[in-house]
Amino acid sequence: MGYFENEFGINDNLCQMLLEKALSKGGDFADVYFEHTIENWLMLEDGKVNRSYGNILLGVGIRTVKGDQVGYGFIQELTKESMLSAAATAASLVNENSRPVASSYKSLKTPNYYPFNDSTIDIPLQSKLPVVKAINEKCFSLSNLIIKVNAGFHDSIKRILIYTSDGVKAEDILPRNFLFASTVAKKDGRTEQSWYNFGGRRDFSYYSVGMAEKLSEIVVARTVNLFDAIQPPAGEMPVVLGPGVTGILLHEAIGHGMEADFNRKKISTYSNMLGKKVAQPFVTIIDDGTNPQQLGSINVDDEGIPGKKTVMVENGILTSYLHDKISAKHYGVEPTGNGRRQSYEHYPQPRMRNTYMLGGKEAPEDVIKAAKNGIYIEDVSNGQVKIGEGDFAFYVSQGRMIEDGKLTAPIKDVNIMGNGPKMLENITMVANDLQLHEGGAGACGKGGQSVPVSFGLPTCLVKSMTVGGTRQKGGAS
């Protein structure tokens, strides 16, 4: 720690000056957020690691808050004069008497949910190359249907320093990294493609040639599987969500509606549901910043609040929204540590971290059996939700038909449609197999900002959702 002081001369006196400037025309509070991020991409195409991309982010964002109003200025040049001008921009929001700021700053101490010995960013490129190249060799060896392999490794180190006008100083180092692979296969004139990744906030020891081979096996199986896939009939039917990555559905369909900014503005479908029954008693949904090495974990949020675990739905009752400082003040509660931002160019908003549902009592096979006829979803992508209506849509990238209580043909190229509150009500069974997704590529978009998140789910049954295919139910394909 002390990185910004050592590298850029940022200290308590300077930050106090910036905070004083930010509150020189009034406001409830102010904060200063420094960021230095280094990120790299190594990419393999046509058998060679033939390109790398690198990017540096360096700057400071200064925020003045008055009620629910935000003044924000940011600057890349870390000179006193430039930073004071960004603070003056933030201060221009209000025109009242100045507000005093803290005279001393206490360093925030938190557990570290993502310790590392070997930062991936410091590992030389030549050590990463064999891991990426192993994917190419393994994928081609697994199936002669594979005609193209793309693979790569992404890693970043984000260093942040936050000062708040109420006297908190917080510093953190957030690693993020993932190994990814995609394959294209051809059979009888048809082409299929698939993609997968492993990662999170990991140490470099997490990655190896062995992991590259495991990743290759998954992505090749997913691609080749699609040659047997059919489109399910269109219309309403029972849907079983498999464990793990399908938790993205929970994130989109339910989690966004529980972000407190949408609720304090009364534009979420969940705005009047706090304290009410929204699901069956066996449904508990959590948003958690404290899971070791998970992509959405944060030691401290971007407003200087420690990473926490927040129960949103407990035994079917909506118990808490996800708060930043503005919404916490609005509702008269403690912030939940969900104030996050993409970078110093952005002000914080309530955002999810790792969102998951606790496991239930059922065996996964009993959940599938109970669905009788419907679809089983193994992976989804491209989720989108309309916050006010609660309506959402997802693309099913991997799944199977359920016929007479058994998993049968793979399915492909279908969307599922639903409504968040209705889906919550319609979860009628939850299995005992909660899995958190072990990925590093998950990013959530909101208000023009993208932040890394993760998710998880046990197998569960939604008694009815709309499946969008090209076949009428009971008709020919």
Binding site: E45, S52, Y72, I75, P124, V184, T191, M417, T466, G468
Partner: protein
């Protein structure tokens, strides 16, 4: 860009060479913007900043890397360049990788595309506050007692870049833009709170529609969403509204890019010269339209901009192929990506098209979904209005369409007279016949 920046950019090229790059491309850019948002008749967000940066492409023979930094202090830059060159040595050699042959830089048109408004600085923050307030007012008046929330706002930005390459390319571009609009939420039955929006943009404030129109349009579009529900799965004609045609078109275009073709991920790879869509379907890529958002004098490789017909009467005439993939595909490059895309408009308004069709669904929004560039299969959620006897009768939500692009674009039956103005794809409303819309 001033002389100082030009000299710094030239120094970057020279320094990359000094440390061992055989070729390089340096791009310096600067952006200044102001954003103002209003809600509950007071400012919700006031944001302002200036950003700048260097992007440096390094070639050591066929070894390639691309690096960017915002830190333009010369000593920091020298260290950045040295590390970038050092790291590039570890990349594997790719014979297709190089700067373009200089002959492809020739022929740039000398034309003022009017992409920067000389009066841009007259749009002061004070005026921007007035714009946001006016839009909020007109929106609130139109939404009446149904309103829950109106967020009205405006952004303006000024952007410029300088590109130099070690083999002689030089390019500068300066643009301005301003945007204004509102996002509206209204009360519906139960806990449903439909949210709609309307934003308009132009290179200069003078070319924007009236502020009252912007506010009223945001309100109208939101009120139109009231009562949305899914109906029984049905096959009927659909009209895809101008501003959302791009969501569908994007999936078709994915098959036309050189990268997807070379990586065997294109459902259109072998179809140049073939008719793959209805006769009505023509796409023109035109980078030379004055004041348009996609206009440019040179593309990402430095090739001079020119108009191209991509699809003519349903037949593919051109792919989007940049320098790198042209070398891998062993063909002539065109351009790596779209500029302004034009689908030539028809002569009927969406209202007239609805009257002609009698019954159908007007699709005003898409949600989620996916399009597979390798197969052309797509599936996407829709939002819109069921119309009967040419008149909207029911808002629809939670519904879906799925098809293959090679089938779907053959269903194109009519084109509206209303090309979308506020983006770089100038798409009119499109009518498709016999589309299955999945619901209950």
């Amino acid at each position: 860009m001033n002389r100082e920046i030009y000299d710094l950019c030239r120094w970057v090229i020279d320094t990359a060479k000094k440390y061992g790059a055989t070729d390089s491309k340096a791009r310096m850019s600067r952006r200044k913007f102001v954003e103002i948002r209003y809600r509950d008749r007071k400012p919700e967000v006031v944001k302002e900043a200036t950003t700048r940066g260097l992007n440096l492409d390094i070639y050591i023979g066929g070894k390639f890397s691309s690096q960017s930094t915002p830190d333009l202090r010369k000593d920091a830059l020298e260290d950045f360049i040295k590390k970038a060159v050092d790291n590039t040595h570890f990349i594997e050699d790719d014979q297709a990788r190089s700067l373009p042959d200089q002959k492809y830089y020739a022929g740039r048109i000398d034309k003022n595309l009017q992409l920067a408004d000389p009066e841009h600085n007259e749009l002061t923050p004070e005026k921007q506050h007035e714009i946001a307030k006016t839009i909020e007012n007109s929106c609130l008046e139109k939404t009446g007692d149904k309103v829950i929330s109106v967020e009205a706002g405006t952004n303006k930005s000024e952007w410029e870049e300088l590109i130099l390459t070690s083999n002689g390319f030089e390019g500068t571009t300066k643009t301005t833009d301003c945007w204004a609009g509102a996002s509206v939420t209204v009360a519906d039955e139960g806990d449903r709170r439909p949210n709609g929006y309307f934003w308009a943009g132009a290179r200069s404030l003078a070319d924007m529609p009236s502020l009252d129109y912007i506010g009223e349009e945001a309100a109208r579009r939101t009120l139109d969403l009231l009562g949305g529900k899914k109906i029984k799965t049905v096959t009927l004609p659909v009209i895809v509204e101008n501003r959302v045609v791009g969501n569908l078109l994007n999936g078709f275009l994915s098959g036309l890019y050189g990268g997807n073709i070379q990586q065997k991920r294109s459902f259109l790879a072998n179809k140049k010269g073939e008719q793959v869509a209805a006769n009505l379907f023509t796409i023109i890529d035109d980078p030379l339209i004055e004041k348009a958002f996609g206009s440019r004098l040179y593309d990402g490789d430095g090739f001079p901009a020119k108009q191209r017909t991509i699809v003519k009467n349903g037949t593919i005439e051109n792919f989007f192929i940049d320098w790198y993939y042209s070398r891998k595909l062993n063909c002539e490059p065109t351009t790596g990506g779209t500029s302004n895309l034009i689908i030539p408009p028809g002569d009927k308004s969406p209202e007239m098209l609805m009257k002609d069709l009698g019954r159908g669904i007007l699709i005003t929004g898409f949600i989620g979904g996916n399009s597979n560039s390798a197969t052309g299969d797509f599936s996407i959620g829709i939002i819109g209005k069921l119309f009967e006897n040419g008149v909207p009768v029911q808002s629809v939500a939670e519904m879906n369409i799925a098809d293959n692009h090679l089938n779907f674009w053959n269903k194109l039956a009519a084109i509206g007279n209303d090309p979308w103005k506020y983006g770089d794809w100038l798409t009119p409303s499109l009518v498709f016949s016999d589309v299955m819309v999945a619901g209950i």
